[in-house]
Structures are given as C-alpha cells and as structure tokens.
Amino acid sequence: MIRFVIQRVLLIIPTFLGAALLTFVLIHAIPGDPVQMLLGEKVIDPVRHQELLAQIGLDKPLPIQFVDYVWNVLQGDFGKSIQSKESVLSDFFQLFPATLELAFCAMVFAVVIGIPAGVLAAERRGSVYDHTLMGAALTGYSMPIFWWGLLLILFFSLYLGWTPVSGRIDLDYYFEDGTNFMLYDSLVSGQEGAFASAVSHLILPTIVLGTIPLAVIARMTRSAMLEVLGEDYVRTARAKGLSGFRVVGIHALRNALIPVVTVIGLQVGTLMAGAILTENIFSWPGVGSWLVNSIYQRDYPSVQGGVLLIAGFVILVNLSVDLIYGLLNPRIRGRR
C-alpha cells in the first residue's frame, strides 16, 4: 500500500509541471499584450509601452520567463495580478471558497440524486422509468449550461418568484471578516434569515452545475449495477430469499460503487469547468469567472496561477479518489 501511495504521489510532479508549461505556452500564444488591454483604444509612446512591459517582466525571452515563474512558484510566490495589482494567491483564496461551496453542493446534489436514480433504473431495466430516466440524463448531459441557467431563473425566480435571481446572499446581510464560505458565515453570524437567504441563493446554481455530473453518475451507476446484478453471487443471494433491498442495496451496490467513485473523482474537473459558466450566469463570485476575465485581460500571472491552483486541487482530489479506490478494491492495489 505504501508503495502504491508513493507511486501516486510521485506522478503528481510531472502532471503539475505539465499543467504549468501548458498554461504558460497557451496564454502566451494568444496574441496581444496586457499593456494594450489596459490602454484600450488609447496609444502611448512605444518606448514607454516597452518600459511598462518590462515592469511586469514581459520583456525577457519566454523560456527565461517560464523558469523564473516555476522557481517563484516553488517558493510559494505566484506573482501579482497585472489587473488588480494584488497577489494572485490572495485574489484566488478570496474567491475559491465560493467555488468550493458551490462545487461541493453540486456534487452532493449529483450524488444524492444520481446514485439512487441509477440503481432504480438498473433494477427496473427496460421499464418506462428506466427509459425516462436515461432520456432525462442524456438531455441533462447535453444541455448548454448558460441556457439551462437562464431558463431556471426565468421559471423559478421570475415566473414563480421562489428563488433569488443571482448572488450568494441578500444584499442586506454583511459579515465582517467572514470566511467566504457563505453557508458557514451566515449560520454563525446569528443574523435572522441569513442562513435561509444563503441556502435560497444556492439552489439554482447547485442544480445548474450539478446537472451534468448527475447525468454522468446516474448513467454510470446504472451500467455498473446492471453488470453486478448479472453476477452469480447476486443470483445466489436472490435464490437464498434475501429481500430485494438487501440484494440491491447491500450486495450489488457496494461493488457497483467502485467505478462510480472514480467517475465522481473525474467529475471534479468537469465541475470546475462548469463553474466558469455557472458563476457567470448567477453572478457567483468564484474563481471561474475571475479566470475568464483574466484571460480576456491577458493577466498572465492570474491565469497561470489560477489554472495551476485549480489543477493542483483537481489532482489532489483525484489522488484521494485513487487512494480510496485502492482501499475499496485490494485487487487493484495489489496489481500496482
């Protein structure tokens, strides 16, 4: 097991370096420089333009910039944002709790609904329920997030008036020195109605962001369950007269969950990508919309730092999933 853990941890290094190099090359491959973006239609003296580029370290050859960057990152310095002039780490960690809270709720939503739905679909294979559910899952998977988000706002917020349109909490609530985890802040603030307001603001973004993982998890659970339900030991369990719940819920589901756990781990990456659009629609102040804006503004340090930190998070989640997977399935652990 220790060897397995060391192997997985060592694999992180090339993945991390690869992510850093790829981001660096891609953002620099996009034409245009950040000074021009700051100036817009205005023009300054070309000499001064070069001076300003030099001030933010963009006058050096690209390979040197990359080595400098990696060296600084290794020392924990992700640089300063060209736009906000603040440290990238500080910008990132002001926003990351919002993304994490949303992603966590979306994942809980996807798992809590996706797994039972997949189990039921497998159990009633070929029924109207199965076809409806899998049809809905396919629709959910194919749905453009921005369209789905606006549709929900129109129906639930404007037509029915049940949920707020956007934001994280009603503007009247304000928590000085909060953690930026709104559910927690609102709960401990003791302000009347604050927690309910935070929950109400979370509902629609959670549904929108959780829809694709929900569809994937439901489909994966269904196919894994179908495979397991055909196994001899399940037939034996049924023959022994065990209740349907025990056969499906205890014997079959436990084994079917192994590939589902992997898929859940992989969905963390999808959630991060989906967060970009969801955050934009619901004015959710997370790292997704910040990153998109940084790309538009050619804010190289923010883009590089942001992608690297998110990649680090996704890598860590996947490492944990790998380790849990190894724990759940000793055969795999042994093979490696």
Binding site: L39, G40, P164, G167, R168, N293
Partner: protein, 531 residues
C-alpha cells in the same frame, strides 16, 4: 405523506420569502456590469473601475451633473496665466477626509494632499510612485506626463500647476478620475505601518460615500459620508451588486433585487420600457463609431474614392440592425453632445449609384480588400461582425468586394495603430467634454507622421494647425469656431466614414429619484435617492 410534503414545501417557500423580503429602505442597489480592477483612481482607466471609485473621491474640478461643463469642486476658484502655462488653484476650506478602519484623519484637506496626489504619478522619486505597479494607465493615456511640468504648494490652501505647453482642455481634464485627490495623511500613516499597498485597496477620499467593503467579484459596499461638504446624501448606503450578464441584470431589476443597472441588451429595451414598474432613461452617448480608410494604401489615398465610400454606407440600416434603433447616424467625428459640434455640416447622402459612378471614374472597379471588424462589443459598436456584414453588402453594391477580417482585441488595436488595416471599424468614447478629445485622433501634430491613434493614417497640415490653435486658445467661443472649421475640413477630405453615435440607456425602478444620465457615460450616484 403528500400532506407532509406540501407542508414542507410551503414552509420552505415561506422561509425563502422571509429571507428575500428583508430590505433596508435607504440602500440604493446598483447592478454593475463587472468587477473593479481595484480602488486606486489613479491606476485604472476602465469605466467599470472608475464608476466604483467615483463615489469615494473628489477632484479639483468636476463636471456639473448631466452636462460636460467643468465646475469648481475641491478647488473653489482658479486663475490661468496669460501664456496659458500656469494654473493657480485656490482650495476649498473645511473639507474632511473619510474615516475608515485603521485611519481617522486629524486635519482637513489642504495643498499637501493635492501635491501628493499629482506627484505620485508625475514624480518617479515619489515614495508611492512604484506602489501597486507604478502604471498610471489613464494619466499616461492622456499624455499627462508630457503635458504637466510640475505641481507645487504655494501655501496651505493654494497650489500652482505648471504645464510644458498651453493646453486649453486642461481644466476639463482635471475632472477625470486620475485627478482624484488622495489623503497624504493616510499615505504617510500607511508608509509608517509598512502597508503602502493599502492605499489602492481601502480608498480614502472626500467624496459623497465612504468605502466600507469589497467582496471580490460580488458586492461593493459604501455608506453615506455624514460630513460631505456638498451636503447629506439621500440614501444611507450604496451597494454595487456585480452582475455580469445583462439578461440577469434585467431579471434582478424586474424582481426588485436591484434598483438600477447599466448597459441593457438592445433586444430587451422594448420589454423594459413596457414594464409599468420601471423607467428607462436615455441620452445620446458621447461617442462615435467610424470606419477608417487607410490613407497610406491605394486607392484610399484618393479623396474622391473616400467620398464615394462615404456615400456607399447605409447608416440607417446599421442603426436598425445593430442597435435596434438605439443610435443616431453620425455626420462628424465629434458627437453632437460635445460643444463645438458643427451642425452646418451635412452628411454625405446614401447614394450607391452615385458612389459607384465616382469610384469607376477613379478606376476603382471589382476591388478586393480586407475590412477589419471589431471582435468585442463596445458602447459605440455593439456587434462589430453584424456591422461588418452590413458594410460588406453595401460596399459590394458599389464594386468593392470586402473580405471580413478580425483579430483578438489587443492584437486588433496594435495592428490597426501600426497602420496594417486597409478598411476597419474603430470608435471612441469621450474622456472629457472637450472637442479636442475627439478631434486629436485624426491629427499628425504637423509632422506628417501619423501617430498610433490616427488609425486612418491621414495627415493634413491645415487640420494640424487648427488643432494646435484650438489647444492654445483659451476663449471657448473662438475654440468653437476652430473646431467647426476642423469638422468642415475632415468632412471634405473624408478620411473616415463616421457611422453612428450610440444612445445610452439606464433602466431603473420608478422608486429611483434624481438619477441623471451623464453625457460622458459615467455613472454617478451622488444625491440619488429612493422614493
């Protein structure tokens, strides 16, 4: 089971309803279109950022609400020397700076604050010059490092500014956000505490609202400045709820989650105007979209060809298709909202037959050329591609076959400034209410060498002389005549095709009281109340 489910749903809906109905009556909620880059008025030039710093600061000179006229603000009065090089400002007494967490001012505003504010940008040895990047985008973009020579204290309440050359629009330029007055006392305290970066993060000014908090990308909070020298504000709090999507901004206004918002989508205007709970204020925008014809390339160096192209573009069709009627066809490079506009100039009529005839007379037939369209939406051009397609169709009718081309925005600007575009869309929004701010774009400074912002690369000595005269003349009536002449000249020479001036719309709740659309396109909440 069913009953329990219904009860639970009802309880939950009630809980949400309670949570959402709590609203303070004296908070003005503005659904802004984006996040500010920071809170240092000197560092940034994006409109969104300047809107967010404006409530906190004052400048020596400001513009009168709803007009482009400069009025006294922190400077009560001023004198200009005969040679137009020295400005003496007499400062307002008794103006108080804000108290924020960690800073309580012990003295009123004085000349030290003015000298510090300008010298931070002007003097590379100022201890704050390099703080937070040392890039003063708007100050530099306006050419101020070359225009301003020095800023000196005469006495506690008098400041002398010396220029390198006469600059008639200088007073108007001092109304811009880069000229905001910061507190030197606050800067000194931060320097002692080793926290100089804070100066642009927690802003301290003398303006109508005190900065309270910024939750990144979410909410900016201000409270009314009790000691404001222009008097008490009509609301207790001002909140910017950052909402990037225009469809969501509209939904929030309709649902009562915000009171006012900028930049509505053109397609939503009819619905917004029909809503009995809302009003949509509108005003002609201080901007111009135009098409350049690169005078350094053939056949655009030929005046008759350029005039013919001016007759080939159907501006009314562009107004209808791109702006859903929210714009006016342009005649001059100067918008009619800026003084000095020449309404005696009549635009070239839309006459494709005549245009074709003129082009053929110059040997221009079946010409193939690239037309650059803007890749981003700007207030003066909401959809560059659609505008490009309309231009393409118009030009095809007169024998010019256009290939539509674009680049990423920063690259687009860089290449266009370098003179690579044969035909291309560009535009301008006013920084100040002075005609020079638009007319200088087409000048060459008498050198025959077009600078970057002269995208059409057209140089004309007579035009340059008029611009120079305009800058050196302080009498506004005389300046009007000078810029009118310049507009006649540019109309005759036709180096560009002025396309449209867009209209600015501000949808708001009927509760909003006293909001005035600013002709310079800025969003100002001073003295705005709620009924």
């Amino acid at each position: 089971m069913k009953v329990r489910l219904i009860t639970a749903t009802a309880a939950f809906a009630l809980m949400l309803g309670t949570a959402m109905s709590a609203q303070a009556a004296s908070t003005l909620r503005y659904c802004s279109e984006g996040s500010p880059e920071g809170f240092g008025p000197q560092l940034f030039d994006a409109g969104t950022t300047l809107d967010a710093v404006r409530p906190v600061f004052n400048r020596l000179i400001e513009t009168k609400f709803g007009t482009t006229d400069p009025v006294a603000s922190l400077a009560e009065k001023w004198e200009v020397s005969d040679d137009g090089l020295t400005y003496t400002f007499h400062l307002r007494q008794g103006v108080k700076f804000h108290t924020v967490k960690g800073f309580k001012p012990t003295r009123d505003f004085n000349a030290d604050d003015v000298v510090f504010s300008f010298n931070r940008m002007l003097d590379k040895n100022n201890p704050y010059h390099a703080v937070n990047g040392g890039t003063y985008a708007y100050f530099e973009g306006m050419g101020m490092p070359d225009k301003m020579k020095s800023v000196e204290k005469v006495d506690d309440m008098t400041v002398k500014v010396t220029l390198n050359a006469p600059e008639a629009p200088f007073i108007a330029e001092l109304g811009m956000e880069w000229a905001s007055i910061l507190s030197k006392e606050y800067a000194d305290q931060l320097e002692k505490e080793g926290k100089k970066e804070q100066i642009d993060l927690v802003p301290v000014g003398t303006g109508p609202f005190v900065f309270v908090d910024y939750q990144k990308d979410a909410v900016i909070r201000y409270k009314a400045n009790k000691d404001y020298w222009r008097g008490k504000q009509k609301v207790d709090n001002l909140v910017f709820a950052i909402t990037k999507d225009p469809a969501v901004r509209k939904a929030k206004l309709e649902k009562g989650e915000c009171d006012i918002y900028p930049y509505p989508a053109a397609a939503d205007l009819a619905e917004l105007k029909a809503n009995p709970k809302l009003t949509v204020e509108e005003s002609e925008g201080p901007n111009v979209a135009y098409m350049i014809m690169n005078n350094k390339m053939k056949p655009w160096d030929n005046k008759i060809v350029r005039q013919a192209v001016n007759m080939a573009i159907n501006k009314d069709a562009i107004v209808k298709a791109v702006f859903a009627g929210g714009a006016k066809p342009a005649v001059n490079p100067l918008p009619p909202t800026i003084w000095g506009y020449n309404d005696a100039v009549k635009g070239y009529p839309y006459d494709p037959a005549k245009a074709k005839e003129m082009l053929e007379s110059q040997g221009v037939k079946d010409l193939k050329v690239d037309l650059w369209y803007q890749p981003v939406s700007r207030p003066y051009n909401l959809d560059g591609k659609k505008m490009g397609e309309l231009m393409q169709a118009d030009l095809a009718k007169v024998g010019i076959n256009v290939n539509l081309v674009t680049y990423d925005w920063a690259e687009y600007l860089k290449r266009m400034h370098a003179g690579e575009s044969p035909l291309g869309q560009i535009g301008w929004g006013a920084d100040i209410g002075d005609p020079d701010n638009f007319m200088y774009l087409h000048g060459c400074g008498g050198t025959g060498n077009p600078p970057g912002q002269n995208n059409e690369k057209w140089c004309n000595n007579e035009y340059d002389a008029l611009l120079k005269q305009g800058l050196e003349t302080s009498d506004q009536a005389k300046r009007v005549e000078i810029y009118k002449k310049a507009q006649e000249l540019i109309h005759e020479e036709a180096p560009i095709v002025p396309i449209v001036h867009s209209v600015t719309f501000m949808p708001m709740s009927k509760k909003v009281d006293g909001y005035v659309i600013d002709p310079l396109g800025i969003h100002n909440f001073e003295n705005v109340g709620l009924k």
